[in-house]
Symmetry: C2
Subunit: 238 residues, 2 copies
């Protein structure tokens, strides 16, 4: 199966969580909107009246006749197919639950720089951004990181992964969450990382996986930038 991923071509964003799973598994896929005329193809899909099950927003994945949207939902679908989640239902639900919690953290990280509207410039919501970011870095970031650190500690298999003995797509996503938080909030992360060593170790273990290491080092990995979900504004990272 050749998968087609549709996502904004110039940012990591939410699409990156899907890219990481596809890359780690060595899956055959096209990052459609990054090819010539790819953006046109993506917009046509989104506006198509013929599509019976249209996405609300990117990313979405075309898998044969299926078109699947919502990042966590795409990973729910891909997980077993890429052998990136255990087969039994309780483990799959647990992986998905963790993925949705990562999604919540990512949405909140986004709203630090856009607390009023995604349609306005950062500069037009800077005051509110400063306040929301202060809350995020002092309250929410520690809460999310504590939670995942606790899960790594609890995993009875002692594997250093979030669930069971083997790596799962949720581990790849937690790696990406750490990457994004480090880019956006380096000061805060420097403060929090020493008490979240299991999470940092997981991040490093994921980064060293051969296929992922090659991907991260390739031009396919879009650098973080000020258009994405994770953005670095020093004034938001006190």
């Amino acid at each position: 199966m050749r998968y087609e991923l549709y996502y904004w071509p110039s940012i990591q964003g939410r699409g990156e969580f899907v890219r990481l799973a596809l890359e780690d598994a060595g899956a055959d896929y096209a990052d459609v909107a990054r090819s010539p005329k790819g953006m046109t193809a993506m917009m046509r899909m989104m506006e198509s009246r013929a599509l019976e099950r249209p996405p609300f927003a990117p990313p979405f994945l075309k898998a044969g006749k299926l078109v699947i949207a919502q990042t966590a939902n795409i990973l729910l679908y891909l997980g077993p197919r890429l052998d990136l989640v255990p087969r039994n239902e309780p483990a799959r639900l647990w992986a998905h639950q963790l993925q949705l919690t990562i999604a919540d953290c990512v949405a909140e990280a986004h709203d630090t720089h856009h607390p009023i509207s995604g349609g306005l410039y950062y500069e037009d919501q800077k005051n509110a951004a400063r306040k929301r970011a202060a809350d995020f870095t002092s309250e929410r970031m520690p809460k999310f990181l504590d939670y995942f650190e606790g899960i790594l500690q609890r995993n009875g298999k002692g594997s250093g992964y979030l669930l069971g003995k083997n790596v799962s797509y949720v581990d790849l996503s937690l790696f990406q969450m750490v990457e994004g938080l480090r880019y956006a909030f380096p000061h805060t992360m420097k403060r929090l990382e020493p008490t979240h060593s299991r999470t940092v170790e997981l991040h490093d273990r994921v980064a060293a996986r051969p296929r992922l290491a090659r991907y991260l080092d390739s031009p396919r990995r879009i650098p973080f930038n000020q258009d994405g979900i994770f953005r670095h504004y020093p004034e938001l990272d006190r």
Copy 2:
């Protein structure tokens, strides 16, 4: 199977999406935190070090030995068991995708009154709330409602439900989304409803389902109030 739902006892909130599914199916369940000492039981579960797969936040559902959190994930689990979603995987993924889009709308509706921090009073973030609500009511609410109206229009079965021929848990959730938006933003909804007649009809059809009608009329249905996700502040509903 007797299910145990754990959620804040004084609000509809996210737990209501689960309650509606359980009620519509006539499922055997306990709304644990609403019983005497139920809050203690819920807090104990949340803080338990013995729980291998702890929730990040309520709602969560205990189903035998499983403890499942994240509203949409709970419905993903319950859907087939309560016969509230088709059995085939593409339909289940599609239902879940729609549920996650409803969850996004609900999170944004919450943030209209708490754009800075869930830990601060509304009064302490009123200015930002006014701006975020203006964006939500003028841009986001129409966008979400247009999307679901379009899905109802596209459903080839012409059933008036979101997917296929029969009611699903997503229909119940869309009913609840409309209920919440009507409570929080009556003025905006009055403006938007005439151009979203399929959504309004679905709302009414769901409300008239015998078990749900009885539930909505019972003391088990907590009234909307100013502590929940949907809150009515006239200044946020211009």
